[in-house]
Symmetry: D2
C-alpha cells in the first residue's frame, strides 16, 4: 500500500501532468467535441477536478462550500446517482465556463486538496483519493486521444508535437510463443492499487495455444488492404460488415492517400506510412477480420495475461477476443463509486496491454481496458494467436 505522503505527492504530480499535456493547445482546441466519444479537453480538466470536490471535499469537510453551484451539473459525467448530468452530446456546445475559469477551478480544488491531505485524510477516504488520482490518469489517456481526434480531423491538420513511440517500429521477426494447457491464475494480487474489474484473482483453464511475440505492422496491413480484405464479406462479423459498408471504411483511422502515397496523421504532423511500424487506430472488427484473413485469431484476455511476461507490451492497446465481463465473485463497490466499472460490462471488448498514452501507473499485465467494437480513436493494435 502506498504511504500517505507519497499518495499526496502523486496527487500533485498527476494534476500537473494533466495541465502539462494541454500546453500545446490553443484555447479553441479545448472546446470542441467532434464525435460523441471525444470530450472537449476543458471538460476533462473540469471533470477530473469535480471528482475530488464531489467525493472528497464536499463529502468529508463539514460545511465545505462548492466553488460554483452549477459546476457539479456541468462536469459530472455518468454518475447518475449523484445528480443530473449534461447529456454527453452537449459537452461540445458549452462555451462556458471558459478555459481560464476551468483552470481557476482546478487551481482552487488542488489547493483545497492540499489542505485536505494535511487535515482530513484518513482510513475512510484515502482509498477515494487513490481512485481519484487514477481516475485522472485514465482521463490523461483519453485527453491525448481526444486531442489527436480534434486536430487530426481538422482540414488544416495542426501539429500538437512529437509523442514518443507514436510511430513504433517492430523490427524483430514474428515468432509464436507456445503455452501449455493447464490451470492459470488471472487477476490482480492486490498488493498495489488496482480497479475492481481486475478482481478477484481466480483460476482459469486454458487449452494449449500460441501467441505472437510482436504486434501486426503497417506493412502487413497494407497487404490485407491490397488483397481486398475490406471487400471480402467472409472475413467479417455481420455487424462489422455493416459498419464497414455504412461508414465506407477502407483503411485505419488517420490514414489517407496523397498522390498515390499512403500517409497518416500523427500528433507530430502528417507523414508517410512506415511499413515496419505497428498498425494503430483500428477497430475490433478490423482486428478480427485481419486475423481471419491470416487464418488465425485474436488471443483471449486470459491467454494474453498468461503469456504477457514473455513479450514487451507493444505500446498499443491490443484487442482481445474476450468480451468485457465480471470475473467470478466480482463485487462492485457500494454507492456512486460502484458505477465506475460494473455498469459497462455488456457489449464491449477487452483490450490488454497499454499504449503510448497510458500513464506509468496504469501499465500492468492485469489491467483491463474496454471499448466498443467499432471504436478506433484510441491507440489500438493487434497481436495474433492460434490454438494448438
Amino acid at each position: 500500500m502506498i504511504p500517505t505522503a507519497q499518495l499526496c505527492e502523486l496527487f500533485l504530480s498527476t494534476r500537473s501532468r494533466t495541465e502539462e499535456m494541454c500546453q500545446p493547445l490553443q484555447t479553441e482546441d479545448y472546446v470542441v467535441q467532434p464525435i460523441v466519444d471525444v470530450s472537449p479537453p476543458k471538460w476533462h480538466l473540469g471533470h477530473t477536478t469535480w471528482f475530488f470536490e464531489e467525493f472528497l471535499l464536499d463529502a468529508f469537510i463539514p460545511g465545505y462550500k462548492r466553488y460554483h453551484p452549477e459546476y457539479a451539473y456541468v462536469f459530472n459525467s455518468y454518475y447518475e446517482s449523484v445528480g443530473k448530468r449534461v447529456v454527453r452530446t452537449d459537452r461540445g456546445n458549452l462555451s462556458r465556463p471558459s478555459v481560464k475559469e476551468v483552470y481557476a477551478y482546478r487551481q482552487h480544488v488542488t489547493e483545497a486538496m492540499k489542505e485536505f491531505c494535511k487535515n482530513h485524510l484518513d482510513e475512510d477516504n484515502r482509498h477515494i483519493l487513490e481512485i481519484g488520482i487514477h481516475h485522472e490518469k485514465q482521463h490523461q489517456e483519453l485527453l491525448l486521444t481526444d486531442i489527436k481526434y480534434i486536430l487530426g480531423n481538422n482540414p488544416l491538420l495542426p501539429v500538437y508535437g512529437e509523442v514518443e513511440s507514436e510511430e513504433f517500429i517492430e523490427n524483430s521477426k514474428t515468432e509464436f510463443i507456445s503455452i501449455k494447457d493447464g490451470i492459470y491464475h488471472i487477476g490482480h494480487d492486490c498488493e498495489d492499487f488496482c480497479y475492481d474489474n481486475e478482481l478477484p484473482r481466480h483460476r482459469v483453464f486454458l487449452e494449449p495455444y500460441a501467441i505472437a511475440n510482436k504486434l501486426v505492422t503497417n506493412g502487413e496491413w497494407l497487404e490485407f488492404i491490397n488483397d481486398g480484405g475490406y471487400a471480402n464479406v467472409l472475413l467479417w462479423h455481420t455487424e462489422g460488415w455493416d459498419w464497414v459498408k455504412k461508414n465506407d471504411i477502407q483503411h485505419p483511422m488517420y490514414w489517407f492517400q496523397e498522390n498515390g502515397v499512403w500517409k497518416q496523421y500523427l500528433l507530430g504532423g502528417a507523414k508517410a506510412i512506415d511499413p515496419n511500424a505497428t498498425v494503430t487506430h483500428i477497430s475490433y472488427y478490423e482486428a478480427f477480420a485481419f486475423a481471419q484473413w491470416k487464418g488465425m485469431r485474436l488471443p483471449t484476455e486470459f491467454e494474453w495475461e498468461v503469456a504477457s511476461s514473455k513479450f514487451d507490451y507493444g505500446k498499443r492497446w491490443e484487442w482481445t477476443e474476450s468480451a468485457y465481463l465480471p470475473y467470478p465473485n466480482y463485487s462492485k463497490p457500494d454507492g456512486a463509486l460502484g458505477e465506475y466499472n460494473g455498469k459497462f460490462m455488456v457489449n464491449q471488448k477487452v483490450l490488454r496491454g497499454s499504449s503510448i498514452a497510458t500513464p506509468d501507473h496504469h501499465v500492468r499485465k492485469t489491467y483491463r481496458n474496454f471499448f466498443h467494437s467499432y471504436l478506433r480513436w484510441q491507440f489500438t493494435g493487434l497481436r495474433l494467436a492460434k490454438s494448438l
Copy 2:
C-alpha cells in the same frame, strides 16, 4: 449418426410440422413484419425452402432448373456470399409471391427433395441435408415467436390457440444447488447432430458456485416492479438504462394493466398474470437488473451447462452472463455454410435451455442460443446464481 432413411423421414416430418404451425393463421398474418427482428411467416416458409433448393437441389443435381428465377433473391436471408439479398427491413413490404405461391414452392421443393433423397443423397451432401432440417427447425421456433409478436401487438389481440406450457407454473420452492470448483468438460461430444458453435468439446475451470433449481416467477417480478426496480439506475447497465428510458420500459413484453389488474397476451388469448408462472419475454438487461436487485447474478453458460443435469429445463430460454464467443479451437465451415454461426459472435449474449417453441431435436444441454441484449420477443426467462 442418424441413418439415411431416418434422415429423410425427419426431413418430411419437419416440413409438415412447419406447415401445421401455420394452420391457425389467416392469409394476412403471413405478410407483415412489425419490427425488423420479426419476419413475415410466409418468408419463413419460403426461406427454409430456398435453403434446400440452393444448397442441395441446385448444387448437386446437374441441370436442375430453379422453381422461379427471382426466389433466390427474395428468400435469401443473410448468406451474403450467395447473392444479393432483400434488405431485411423490406421483407414486410413484399405482398408477392402470395401465400399460395409460397406453399406451391414448398410443395415443389419438398417433392424434388424426395427424389433427391432417393437418387442424389451421398456422403458429401447428407450433412447439408441434416443442417437444412435443423435450420428449418430453428425457423419453426422463430415462426412461433414471430406469430406471437404479430398477433400480440395487434389492437384486436387475435387468438392463435393454446400452446402447451406457454404459461408454465413453477410450484416447487426455490433451492440453490452447489457446485464445486474444478475442471469441467464443455461442449458437444459429437455423437449426434450439433452446430459448429457447440464444438469442440473442451475444458473449463469453474470456481465454486450455486445455481437455482427453478426459474424466476411472475410473482417475484411483480415484487421487483413494485420495489421500483425499473426506476433504480444503480441496478442497470448503462446501456440497459438508456434502453429503459428510451423505450419507456416498465414491465415484461406482452404485459399490460387493465382496471388495475396485470394481464398478459398469450397465444391462447389475454389473461390475468399468474404469480406462480415463470416470468417470460424479458431482455438480458432486465434479467441482469433483477439479479442485481436480488443481490445475485446470472450464471455463465458454463456454470449452466455443468449444473444442467440437476434441474429440468424450465421451458424458457435462460439468459446467461456469457457473451456469445467461439470455443477454443473453434473453426467455421468453409463457404456459405460457414456464415451460419461464426459471423454473429460479437455483442450478443448466450441463452441456454430451450423454450416451449423449441423443436424436440434442439433440446440439449450443449445448445447455444444467442440474441442481442435488448430483445424480448423470444420465450426468455432467467435463473439466479451466486458465487460461493
Copy 3:
C-alpha cells in the same frame, strides 16, 4: 345542388367503384405499407367506411351501435379531435382485421347507410354525406397510386391490369398560349360540390404570361437526363439537391434501365419508354429543375386556372409553383370536418388538373390538389410557363 335521390345513388356507385378497383388484388396486396405515404388497400376500404359510421351513423342515429368497438381506433386517419389514431407508420403492421372482415364491415355500413338515406337524411347532414362520398372518391385515387407503388416496387413486378391512358401520348406540337395581364376570378362558384379550399371565389391580378398547350414528354425528359440535368446543382433548389443526393435520384419513379433500354413499370406491366408519352411520377423538385433547364418556369396555380379553358387537361397532376395556402377570406368548417384541408396548408405545393386515377366528379378547373415537394407516387407531370 345535387338532388337527394341522386346523392344516394352516387353513394352506392362510389362504394361499388372502390371495391371494383380492388378486384385484381390478391389478399396479400391489401396488407402492406412499403412507405409511410402509401396506405394498405384494406385500410382505404376500412377508413372510408369508418367515415360514414363516425360522422353520420353514430352522429345522427340515436342509439346506433358501432360494428366493432375497436374499428374507430384502427381506421381513423388524422382526425385527432375524434380519438386516438393508429400511428400512420403502423398501418402496414396490422394483419387484422382481415380483408374479409373489412369487406364485411363495408357491407354492414353500406346497408346501414341505405337505411340512413331513407330515414335520417336531412338538411343538417346531407352535406356530410356529400363530403363522405367525395372523401371516398379521393381515396379511390390514392388507392390506385398506392397499389401501383406496392406492385411496382415488388421485385416480381406483378401486373394489375391495363389502365386507360396510363401511358398518354401527346402528339401535338408544343405551343405557348399568351394571356394578358388583368384581374381574374379564381375559385369555385359554388353551384356544385366543392371543397372548402377552393373557396371563396376571389380576384387575383396576373402579369402577362404564356403557358404551354401540352405536358412535357418522356422524350424531353430523356434529353434532360442526357444533358446531365440530375447532376447540375445550379438547376435545383437547395433542398431539392439534398433530396437528389440523399436518395440517389437519376430518373422518374418506376423507370429503370435493362440492357441499355429505358423502361418503366406500368400497372399493365413493364414496357419500354415511349418518348411521345407524357412524363409521369416526378417530384416538384424535378419539375422545377427541368423548367430551369429549359429557361422557363412552372405556372402558378392562378395562371393555370385562368388558362385552363384553352387546353385539355393532360391526364396528369401538374405541379405548380404555388404553395398550398388559404384563399383570402377562407374559413374552415367547425369541428372534426374542419380538419379536412386547412391543417395541411403549410409546406406543400399545389397541383392542378387531374390524373387518370381521378374519379369523374373531381375533374374541375378549380380543384386544388396538394402534396409535399418530394413525392412522386402520384401520377404527376408538368407544363411549362414563362413571363412575358
Copy 4:
C-alpha cells in the same frame, strides 16, 4: 445609386461593425455550434471575409495569391458551384483556424480590399462589392442571434450586454387599420440597393382586409398559454402539431419558469417577463396557432407591404402567411451569385419588417426575409390580420 467613395466607406464601417459586435465574446464563444442553424461566430467572421476574397480579389486581381489555400474550403457556406464546402454540421467541430488567425485573415482581406477599391473597382465589379457588404450585414444579424443562442442555452446563462429594444414595450392600444380592395404595386423600385428577390416591382390585387397597428405582446401570449393553446390540436397545422409534440414545446424560446414566475433569457441577462413587451422567438407554427385562437389570421406579405406605411415596424421579424416564392418575372443572376436567393424558394415562409438585430440599410418595407416554419432563434414576432 450609391457613389463609389461612399461604397468604400460603407465597406469599412461594415467590417468594423462586425468586429465590434464580437467584443463581448470570450474566445470559446466563437467556436461552438449548438444546433445546425447556428454558426460559430468565428465562422461568420471568416465566411464574410472569404466572400470578398473569392468574388473580388481572386476574381479580378490577376495573380492574386489567396491568404491560405484551405480557407476557401473552410469558409465557403453553400455556394456549391464554387467548390467543396465543409458540411454545415461540422462547423462547430473545427477548432482551427483559431480566432486570432481568423482576425488576421479579416485584417489581411480588409487591407487588400482597400487597395482594390483604389485600383480595381469598376462598373463590372462594384455591384459585387455592394452585394458583399450587404451579405456581411445579413451575417451581422445572424451573428447576434447565434450569439444569443450560444449563451442563452448555456446552463450558466452568461451575459452579453444590453441590446436596445431587445425587450420592446408596446403601450398603445390594439387597433385595426382597414385597407380597401384594389391593385397595388409590390416590390422594390430599384433606386437603391435591393436583393433580387424583391424584384421586379409588379402588381397584386388585394381583397379588403384589416391589419393590427401593433405586435402581439407577452401578456396576450400568456393568455394563450393559460387557455391551453399549446394543447389544443384544432389550432395547429398537422406538421406544427407534430413539432409541438416531438419537441415538447410549451412556450416561446428562452422562456422558463422559476418558482412560478415566467422569465426569459435576454442578452443583458435573465429577467421576469414583461406582459407589455412584444412576444419574441416564436415559430411560424406558433404564430399561426395563436392567430387561429384569436379567430384571426396572419397577413400575407403583400398585405403587410401595402399597409406598412401606416405603422412603425415593431422591431421584430413578423411571420406572414406567405410562402417564399419568386415574384412574377423574377430572374436569378448568373453564376455563383445566382445561388444567393432563388435556390431557397421552396418550403419556407416570408417574414417582413426588421428586428433589433437588423443593420440600418436592411430596414425597408420591400425586404423579404425567410426562414423555415419551425425556427425560433431569430427575433420573430407576429401581427394579426383579418379579411373584411
